[in-house]
C-alpha cells in the first residue's frame, strides 16, 4: 500500500453556493449572519456569504460516480487500496486556509494518500488512513485550502 503514497487522484469540482453555505451553517447550529446574509457579508469586506470553517464546498454529485452515503467522488487516478476491514469511523480532520472561501467559489480538488498506520487497538487491528486534499479556486488558479481527513478502518 505504501507505494500508493503521493499518487494524485483525478480532479473533482466542489461548489460553494449561497444555499449550500446556509444549509451547512444551519447544520452546525450557527446563526452568524456572515454565513446567511449576502449584504451583511459584503459590508464586512467579503465577496459573499462566508463558508463556515471546515466547509469546503459540496462535491458535484453524479449518480454512479459518487458514494451515495458520503457523497465523495469515486474517481479515476489516485491510490488503489485493498482494505481488509469492513467497519469505518472518522479519525480526524485538519484544514489549512490560504484564503477565505465564499459562496460563488468553484473549487477544483485533488487528493492523495498522505499517511497510513496499522495499530493494535481496543477493537482489534485498526488501519488509519489519511488523505490530503488540495482545493484550488477554478477562476483564479490559486490554492485556497488543504484538508487532511483520517479514517479508521477496523
Amino acid at each position: 500500500m505504501r507505494a500508493q503514497f503521493g499518487v494524485e487522484s483525478a480532479p473533482w469540482t466542489y461548489e460553494v453556493t449561497t444555499t449550500s453555505v446556509r444549509m451547512y451553517a444551519r447544520g452546525i447550529g450557527s446563526e452568524d449572519p456572515i454565513h446567511y446574509d449576502v449584504d451583511f457579508a459584503k459590508s464586512q469586506g467579503f465577496r459573499s456569504v462566508v463558508a463556515p470553517l471546515g466547509y469546503l464546498g459540496t462535491p458535484v454529485y453524479l449518480p454512479g460516480q459518487n458514494d451515495p452515503t458520503f457523497g465523495f467522488p469515486r474517481r479515476g487516478g489516485g491510490p488503489r487500496l485493498d482494505i481488509p476491514f469492513k467497519r469505518l469511523l472518522d479519525g480526524g480532520t485538519e484544514t489549512e486556509y490560504l484564503d477565505v472561501i465564499c459562496a460563488g467559489d468553484v473549487l477544483v480538488e485533488t487528493s492523495h494518500l498522505a499517511d497510513l498506520k496499522l495499530r493494535d487497538g481496543a477493537m482489534g487491528k485498526m488501519l488509519f488512513i489519511t488523505n490530503e486534499s488540495v482545493y484550488t479556486n477554478k477562476e483564479t488558479g490559486k490554492v485556497v485550502a488543504k484538508q487532511r481527513l483520517t479514517s479508521i478502518h477496523y
Partner: protein, 143 residues
C-alpha cells in the same frame, strides 16, 4: 456579535469564549444535509445497533465544525484562521451537551504576521475531551 479581538489583547493561557450545544436528532439530520454525510449511524437507531453501538452518535465533523465556530467567532471578521485540526477520540450521543473550547498556548510574530497558537477541543457533559486538537490564528494589530 463580539467586538474584534486584536493581537495585543491576547495572552498565553487565556481561554476563548466557548460554545455549548445539545444537539437533538433534528440538528444531526440538518448536519447530514449540510455536510452531505448521510451515514445512518447518525439518525437510525437500528443501524447504529447493527454496528455494535448502543445508540446513534454525533458526526465527528459536527464537533470539528463546532470548534471552528468558536475560532471564527473569536477571530472576528478581521482575523483569519490559518489552520485547525482535531482527532476524534471519543464518541458523543445526541441530546447530550457538547462544549467546544480553546486556550491560547503561544503568540508570536513571524514574517510580519501576528500568530496565535491554541489548543482547541470539544468535551462532553462530564468534561471528557472527546475531540482534542490545535489551531493557528492570525490576528490584526490595533495600530
Amino acid at each position: 456579535m463580539a467586538d474584534q479581538v486584536y493581537f495585543e489583547d491576547v495572552s498565553e493561557g487565556q481561554e476563548i469564549l466557548p460554545i455549548k450545544i445539545t444537539p437533538d436528532k433534528q440538528q444531526l439530520v440538518k448536519f447530514a444535509a449540510g455536510s452531505g454525510d448521510f451515514n445512518p449511524l447518525h439518525f437510525d437507531e437500528k443501524f447504529a445497533q447493527g454496528m455494535g453501538l448502543p445508540e446513534t452518535i454525533v458526526h465527528g465533523r459536527f464537533k470539528y465544525a463546532l470548534v471552528g465556530r468558536v475560532l471564527s467567532e473569536w477571530a472576528g471578521s478581521k482575523g483569519r484562521v490559518r489552520r485547525f485540526g482535531v482527532n476524534y477520540r471519543g464518541m458523543d450521543q445526541p441530546n447530550k451537551q457538547i462544549t467546544a473550547r480553546g486556550v491560547v498556548t503561544a503568540k508570536k510574530q513571524e514574517n510580519g504576521q501576528n500568530i496565535v497558537e491554541l489548543d482547541v477541543w470539544a468535551e462532553d457533559a462530564e468534561g471528557k475531551k472527546t475531540t482534542p486538537g490545535t489551531a493557528t490564528v492570525v490576528l490584526p494589530s490595533r495600530g
